[in-house]
């Protein structure tokens, strides 16, 4: 059980001109499940490896329970890590893989035996204790890697994309298993992934990173609903948020030949901007009105693709300018076909505005 406080963390690899991580500040609460989310090369794994003690810190501090650990070697930080490759010791059977870390800590043999068997039981590994890793399936290896972390009973768990080597079905079940285990054990967890579904479903909070910096930190739905900039808006959600430039008028914006009322922004909030980026999630565009009211604006567009996914259907719609595509997520029983003209309803209460130069969100300032 521990609080991990990261302050102004920076990492610069020798021979690289750009820092891999810059001014990274984040506090992870006791028992919290924190997800570091970002595209490949955004520095999230570097952060994790610095917390683990596998990578020296260039600037800033990392503290665990108030004790700065910058100079503390990995083996003394009492942190367990699950690697993307699982990193099971190929020459040891499952039992010894699980017991390896405990032996180093001079835990009595009887206690090692008890803890290993308990963890194996919890993870369904009991029949495989005498098998070597090469004789296990991908899912079983993953569970051994998790078990190796659990038996240590460490202060902090670190996960480095632990599900990315599993196939889709196994990934979902293992994900739920991980959530359940973390919930039961309640150990502070830092989980690195580039998969937004993992981030949304697993984390108490998400820290989104881009180019070595923190972009936004918050609860999954909070980040999803109020993205801080266009990067977060596009990165979270599948398909991503539609971003369309609009011309600003008097408390409204002009999208094609339709006026979108922008009642939640005062003229002061919009400042001198002439054009802004309008963000709308695919699920906030409707084929039929979901509720009565005057906050739905009809927009006529050309259907350029229909993607039935079973539970729902995605429509790729093209504005009359012929170049701007907008994706709408509509009901599975839509009758629209390619080439037809469709009128979809845009929920104006779900609109986001972004500054096109800074890419930051323009916050609403009116109720």
């Amino acid at each position: 059980m521990a609080v991990v406080a990261i302050d102004g963390l920076g990492k610069r690899y020798p021979g690289s001109s750009e820092p891999a991580v810059e001014d990274f500040t984040l506090t992870i609460g006791d028992g919290e499940f924190m997800v570091l989310l970002g595209p490949s090369g955004c520095g999230k794994s570097s952060v994790l490896r610095m917390i683990a003690g596998l990578e020296p810190i260039t600037t800033g501090t990392i503290a665990i329970d108030g004790r700065v650990v910058n100079q503390v070697p990995a083996k003394e930080r009492d942190i367990a890590m699950v690697f993307q490759s699982y990193a099971l010791y190929p020459h040891m059977d499952v039992f010894n893989n699980l017991a390896f870390g405990l032996r180093r800590r001079s835990v009595p043999a009887a206690e090692i035996d008890r803890r290993v068997r308990q963890a194996a039981d919890k993870l369904g590994l009991t029949p495989y204790l005498r098998r070597k890793p090469h004789a296990l399936s991908g899912g079983q290896r993953q569970r051994v890697a998790l078990g190796r972390a659990i038996v240590r009973e460490p202060k902090v768990f670190l996960f480095d994309e632990p599900l990315s080597n599993l196939d889709a079905a196994l990934r979902v079940s293992t994900r739920n298993e991980l959530i359940r285990q973390q919930h039961e054990i309640g150990i502070t967890t830092i989980y690195v992934t580039h998969d937004q579904v993992e981030a949304m479903t697993m984390g108490h909070r998400i820290c989104i990173m881009d180019k070595g910096e923190v972009v936004q930190i918050g609860a999954p739905l909070e980040v999803y609903r109020s993205p801080a900039n266009t990067f977060v808006a596009r990165f979270l959600g599948n398909p991503p948020m539609n971003l369309v430039p609009i011309e600003l008028g008097q408390s409204s914006g002009r999208l094609g030949n339709v006026d979108i009322p922008l009642r939640s922004w005062s003229p002061r909030a919009l400042g001198h901007a002439r054009t802004v980026l309008l963000g709308i999630r695919p699920e906030d565009l409707y084929e039929t009105p979901p509720r009565p009211g005057d906050d739905l604006v009809p927009i006529a567009m050309q259907v350029s693709a229909v993607e039935p996914l079973g539970a729902e259907t995605l429509l790729v719609l093209t504005l009359d300018d012929g170049t701007t595509d907008i994706i709408a997520r509509v009901g599975r029983d839509t009758r629209l076909r390619i080439g037809e003209r469709a009128t979809v309803l845009l929920d104006t209460t779900a609109v986001h505005l972004f500054d096109p130069t800074t890419t930051r969100v323009i916050p609403r300032d009116l109720p």
């Binding site: 683990a52 003690g53 083996k75 990193a87 020459h91 390896f100 090469h134």
Partner: protein, 270 residues
């Protein structure tokens, strides 16, 4: 079937060419020299096993054999330990001077042994190691370290870094990681170098003949020379001596050939 015939013929021919002389020597080892001179390719009319006892007991062969065992096994153990340590460091750690050190070690493979023999002779004399088994062991270790480091480094570098990181997270220090991860995971490569070094050193002649002159210090390859006098050649006893000399190599190869082949072909450690 017919498509494989050329390959089978080649393998058959290769076996005859490489195995034939061995069988010939094996047959001669139980025949006497007069018998061999009378009919070189004949099968033994009677098996003269007593020649092995004679070579072992009367021709100082036991001394040569034990000298060889002492020199070769000590040298192989030292080469393996130091070679594995050096290979582990070169493969795992990025440190200042990493590249020049690797270059220096590996450049040891380039020089032909004949080139070094005069200077080694003088060095051993200066340090009172000339004509001692210790001196020969040191020369063997120095001479074969480069190749061993080269083979092991290539293999160790393929062991995934995550394994080492995992062991560090499990609380292990650098030496323990070398001992508990690199060595066991790299075992196929270690067996390969152990077997190769053992065979090469067991047969080594040049350094041994220059650096050892006393009869009771000689190793097996020199002992076989003993039967080849300047005026007479005891072919039968040379064959018997060769069979004694080759036995440990065959035993070692039989024990480790599987692991050794795996070590030479293994790409991934998984």
């Amino acid at each position: 079937m017919w498509r494989r015939t050329p390959l089978l013929l080649f393998v058959l021919l290769y076996t005859v060419v490489s195995g034939g002389p061995f069988i010939w020597v094996a047959v001669m080892s139980v025949r006497t020299t007069p018998e061999i001179f009378a009919s070189p390719y004949a099968l033994p009319s009677r098996f003269h096993w007593e020649k092995f006892v004679q070579a072992w007991a009367h021709s100082n062969y036991s001394t040569y054999f034990w000298n060889s065992i002492i020199v070769v096994s000590t040298a192989v153990v030292l080469i393996t330990i130091f070679g594995a340590m050096a290979a582990h460091c070169l493969a795992r750690y990025r440190f200042r001077g990493n590249r020049p050190i690797r270059f220096l070690i590996l450049s040891g493979m380039i020089l032909p042994p004949q080139l070094l023999i005069l200077s080694l002779f003088q060095i051993l004399l200066d340090y009172h190691l000339y004509n001692t088994l210790t001196g020969l062991i040191l020369v063997y270790v120095a001479g074969h370290l480069a190749m061993t480091v080269y083979i092991l480094e290539g293999f160790f570098a393929q062991i995934p870094q995550d394994l080492f990181d995992a062991a560090r997270m499990d609380g292990y220090g650098d030496f323990e990681i070398f001992w508990r991860i690199t060595l066991p995971v790299g075992a196929p490569a270690l067996f390969t170098t152990v077997t190769l070094n053992f065979i090469v050193l067991w047969n080594e002649f040049l350094y041994a003949v220059v650096l050892l002159t006393e009869d009771d210090k000689r190793t097996l390859p020199l002992g076989i020379m003993h039967f080849m006098g300047s005026h007479q050649l005891d072919v039968g006893m040379v064959a018997t001596g060769l069979m004694i000399a080759i036995t440990p190599v065959i035993v070692l190869y039989a024990l480790f050939s599987d692991t050794m082949i795996r070590g030479m072909t293994a790409g991934a450690v998984r």
